[in-house]
């Protein structure tokens, strides 16, 4: 296992063990700004870890970023790792980020579906769901992005346990979702939530479960537009943007709808690269360019959130 974050290869994919070891190294090397929190256990009893970037204070407003909720979307974990390293490296240098961290905490959950992720390395690279099973149910796993309370069980989700979009027996039934819900609800002061998926180059905001526009539609549309433009200027990758139900399709029981309904006004979901050749099997050579462009978009959204407190 790597023994420091500087010898860790950010341009290759890693196993769960390597990522968890890297997390411990990051916390050790940058203990003044980042710590590790365990927010729960997965269905197969793996630790669910969150990095907390903070310069102190108490009950500060916070930003939540998660990646990897669909386990086969490896580019999202890799982008999360690169982004976490970027944050600790840029604090004190990047004025905007430094301002944010002087008043706001950032929470990052890099592997939101550890069981599924381990399974993509051990048995099935194309596994998407978690690994829960219930008596009498033949198929494994729930789609963790269909298990959230808002719109649960509606269009764009499936009640068939063998489906890739199976929503699970009831809202928040999955420990991986319940851990985030409990953490964010207990914190009570999260102002921005970003959920990172792949692929298809999209930046979206609520709702997924309904075609009804949210009350902050115009503002979130404008933020998405700015973020996508900033992302394009890095490597020329074009994104489309808008609400999930109008940009992509109806999808119910998803993270950002729950976040928005829980009072988190700024809630966005990324669909990162591929540009149409590799799908979920994006070559590792594209990790760093993808992370670079994604960071600029995330930074744009964070800056807007910082400048528009609520």
């Amino acid at each position: 296992l790597e023994r420091s974050t500087s010898s860790f290869s950010y341009s290759s994919y890693h196993t769960l063990e390597e990522i968890y070891s890297w997390i411990d190294n990051l916390v050790t090397e940058y203990s003044d700004i980042v710590s590790k929190i365990q927010i729960g256990h997965s269905f197969e009893n793996r630790s669910i870890l969150v990095l907390k970037f903070s310069t102190g204070g108490s009950q500060r407003p916070a930003i939540w970023i998660d990646s990897g909720i669909h386990s086969r979307e490896w580019i999202t974990h890799a982008t999360g790792i690169w982004t976490a390293k970027k944050i600790v490296s840029e604090y004190g240098k990047d004025r905007m980020l430094t301002n944010i961290l002087n008043t706001t905490d950032i929470f990052m959950e890099i592997v939101s579906n550890p069981d599924g992720f381990a399974f993509t390395h051990s048995m099935n690279r194309l596994w998407r769901k978690n690994k829960s099973n219930r008596p009498g149910v033949f198929c494994l796993g729930v789609d963790l992005n269909r298990n959230w309370r808002s719109g649960f069980g509606g269009n764009g989700s499936n009640d068939n346990p063998c489906s890739e979009t199976y929503h699970g027996p009831y809202p928040h039934s999955e420990p991986e979702v319940a851990a985030i819900v409990d953490f964010i609800t207990a914190h009570g002061n999260v102002k921005l939530l970003i959920s990172i998926h792949s692929y298809s180059q999209m930046l979206m905001y609520p709702y997924g479960h309904s075609l009804e526009p949210i009350s902050n539609q115009e503002e979130l549309y404008s933020v998405a537009k700015d973020a996508v433009q900033a992302l394009y200027e890095v490597h020329g990758i074009k994104y489309i943007y808008g609400s999930i139900s109008t940009t992509l399709y109806l999808a119910s029981g998803i993270t950002v709808d729950w976040a928005y309904d829980s009072g988190i006004k700024y809630a966005f979901s990324f669909e990162l690269r591929d540009t149409g050749r590799y799908g979920f099997l994006l070559p590792a050579t594209q990790i760093i360019p993808t992370a670079q462009e994604t960071w600029v978009a995330i930074r744009t959204i964070m800056e807007h959130t910082q400048n528009h407190p609520y």
Partner: protein, 93 residues
């Protein structure tokens, strides 16, 4: 490790809502066989589906018989998976 030798990812460009609905029907015709990487959404967005080798002939016949234009995005998934594993091993070394 599951082996995906011969499995392909087809990229389908549906021209209209009718063709989108046909793709949704196809999913129903082939339960647990087709794995939509990009699900049927709207005409201007491509639909990517992983088709197991054993289903390729049927699925391509269905697409062609309904005038659904498609291309082969990934010709053999296992080749990419092997490359991915080799890249990880090389990086680890």
């Amino acid at each position: 490790q599951m082996n995906f030798t011969g499995d392909q990812v087809l990229r389908v460009l549906a021209k209209n809502e009718k063709q989108i609905s046909l793709l949704r029907d196809l999913e129903g015709l082939k339960p647990q066989k087709l794995d939509f990487w990009r699900g049927p959404a709207r005409p201007n967005l491509p639909v990517d589906m992983r088709v197991p080798f054993s289903e390729l002939k049927d699925v391509k016949a269905f697409l062609e018989s309904h005038g659904l234009a498609y291309s082969i995005m990934i010709k053999d998934i296992q080749v990419l998976l092997d490359e991915e594993r080799a890249a990880m091993a090389k990086s680890r070394r």
